[in-house]
């Protein structure tokens, strides 16, 4: 018994010293949490996001950190599961005591933790796209991807100029897909465009011929597909196989060259709005975003040996905005960081030039997007 007690004493003493030494070591660091869907069904978002965030943090730390403090990035893999996102958020806030959180990758998860971050008063900069994340505005919740409504408006404007009037809409049955479908239905009347048919499909769909047959029977002038899932490459293939020659528009979720590769020849001519990251080299010299975009793109591509996607760019913007806010606030208080975030203006990121305000927590304008198309297997300007 004595031996046991002695052992217990030794263990507790060791544990105590370890924990205090940890604390001492961490006083000089800035802890930032990250929740990304690194694995699972949305891994094509989360994996490049996590890689980007790690890369950016390493670069900042190598250059001396923020205001002399090193950043400690704690990445959690939610596998696109909202329940996991909720428990990781709590863990990051309560146990890790992070000053801010970046992510999650998907809109569904972000909507689940929006109120949580608000009630804990922890700044959240989401890399997910749905407009509902910042509308209505929650004091502590920001997002970097361009608004859905801009995407819908860009698509409709392009349709107007092409003389398209009657369209069919297909969307993935996910937070992102449903939000996008809602935006399209909301703004179509403003542009004099009639949605003849709007359908959702399962995110794991492997063949959509039957659904597209239904659209074909309605004689639509164009098809809009709104999703982030691999079905983005299946829709164009199935359309071509059915002999549908109408133009295909996709959402900004198409910003990954892998989808073009997977769709092969069928991807030619797809029209979609996206940030300028995908065509960074083709931007005219002197464009305010060009320097940043090319720097991020070449750093990512040389480090990971894979093509950059807009999704990684959203994480890049999220971490850079938080770093900027911490520098500006010169404080590690969550409320100070939030206030500094909201006052950021004219900050060039990969998604556009961010200017936040109390009523706008996305900070990007219509001009943050560019209409792109696929030409010879490459992204290019539509015009």
């Amino acid at each position: 018994m004595k031996k046991f007690l002695a052992a217990l004493l030794v263990i507790s003493v060791v544990l105590l010293t370890v924990s205090t030494s940890c604390k001492q070591k961490e006083e000089g660091t800035v802890k930032i949490g990250a929740i990304f869907a690194v694995t699972g069904g949305a891994s094509f978002l989360g994996a490049p996001e996590a890689r980007t965030a790690e890369m950016v943090v390493d670069e900042i730390n190598a250059a001396g950190g923020i205001n002399g403090k090193q950043i400690k990035l704690i990445i959690k893999d939610s596998a696109a599961n909202p329940e996991k996102a909720i428990s990781f958020t709590k863990q990051l806030i309560e146990e890790d005591k992070v000053v801010a959180i970046i992510g999650p990758s998907t809109s569904g998860e972000t909507m689940q933790i929006k109120d949580l971050c608000e009630s804990y008063k922890v700044p959240l900069v989401a890399a997910a796209a749905a407009e509902a994340i910042v509308d209505p505005v929650a004091g502590y919740v920001f997002k970097t991807p361009q608004k859905d409504s801009y995407v819908a408006k860009w698509i409709f404007e392009t349709m107007q100029s092409m003389g398209i009037k009657r369209i069919g809409v297909v969307a993935a049955n996910s937070g992102f897909g449903n939000a996008g479908k809602g935006q399209l239905e909301k703004y179509a009347p403003d542009f004099g465009i009639e949605i003849l048919i709007a359908e959702t499909y399962d995110r794991a769909a492997t063949d959509l011929t039957a659904l597209l047959t239904k659209l074909k029977a309605q004689n639509v002038d164009a098809v809009v597909n709104w999703s982030i899932v691999p079905a983005q490459s299946i829709v164009p293939k199935n359309m071509k196989q059915l002999g549908m020659d109408v133009p295909l528009f996709q959402s900004h979720g198409f910003g990954n060259i892998k989808y073009v590769e997977a769709a092969g020849e069928a991807a030619e001519g797809i029209i979609f709005p996206a940030g300028r990251l995908l065509i960074a080299e083709k931007l005219p010299d002197g464009h305010p975003q060009k320097e940043n975009l090319v720097a991020y793109k070449s750093a990512y591509e040389s480090k990971f040996g894979e093509d950059v996607s807009t999704f990684g760019g959203h994480a890049y913007d999220a971490i850079m905005l938080i770093v900027e806010a911490i520098k500006k606030a010169d404080s590690l208080e969550r409320t100070d960081i939030r206030n500094a975030l909201e006052s950021i203006s004219g900050f060039p990121g990969t998604g556009g030039i961010f200017t936040f305000s109390p009523s706008d927590h996305n900070g990007l304008g219509m001009d943050s997007l560019e209409m792109l198309t696929v030409r010879n297997g490459q992204f290019d300007f539509l015009k």
Binding site: V38, T39, G40, G41, S43, F44, G46, A47, N173, E199, T200, Y201, D202, A204, T206, D207, T209, A210, L211, T213, K214, K216, A217, P230, S233, I234, P236, K237, K240, Q241, L242, G243, K258, Y259, E261, A262, A263, G264, E265, A266, A267, E306
Partner: protein, 296 residues
Amino acid sequence: MSGEQTLQYIFAGITVGSIYAFVAIGYNIIYNATGIINFAQGEFVMLGGMIAYTFSGFMPLLPAVVLAVLITSAVGSVIESVFIRRMRKTSVLGMIVVTIGISILLREAALYIWDEQIRALRFFTGSEISSVSILGARISPQVLWILGITTIIVAGLFLFFKFTLTGQAMRACSENLRAAKLCGIRTDSMVNLSFMLSAGIGALGGCVVSPLTQTHYAMGTDLAIKGFIVAILGGLGNAIAAVAAGLLLGLIESFSISILPMAYKDVISIIILLIILVVKPSGIFGSRQASSMKDY
């Protein structure tokens, strides 16, 4: 609905149905030899597609597919000898849980070896945009490949199980393992063969469907569930029934889309599965007598 549209929906149903059938056939082979439902079947399909894609980068399509089938068969054989054989004493239910574990293992290994990106093997004939017109309706040539290869496999399996000594021995193992052993059948190698065969067929399926459905490390789970529904629907243990049930489910889904929003597609297929299980628990084509002798 015009005749042309009806035909188009039929083609759409056949496309999806033949993909389901491919997975269901794999279930049946292992079930026939062991009575186990192998939930890692979807992962064999995924592995086939992934390996063939990797090899197709530096060799023609045919050897790439052959290599993918051989390597996946080897993986199936290793899984059997490392996990399944050592757990013979476990109940069948226990074994099924083991196969779920194996499926997770394979999925994570694939994520580690490759990455989270989607890949698509190139089309066997033509390309993404080519299609064959039959009576005004259009179908991708790849679907004809899927149907052709499914037919060959089903015919081959039928002949194998019915007429070859090895095939009969495999069936004997599923009837009664101990009796089969007493008759001098090497039950261990029969079970191993069934895993190899099933993994190989799954991999071949993964290669043929990859141009259409694309290959992703996590695609196996969804395929496994649909394939399982089809296998149950047809009556476990019968490859021809699996194909028929696969096509039936594909057609039902396709026509349900023509009248209802697509979001209801899976609800309809599950309702039909439930009705069939209540009315005829042994499956549409299964025999009641045979199923009463099985563990399930």
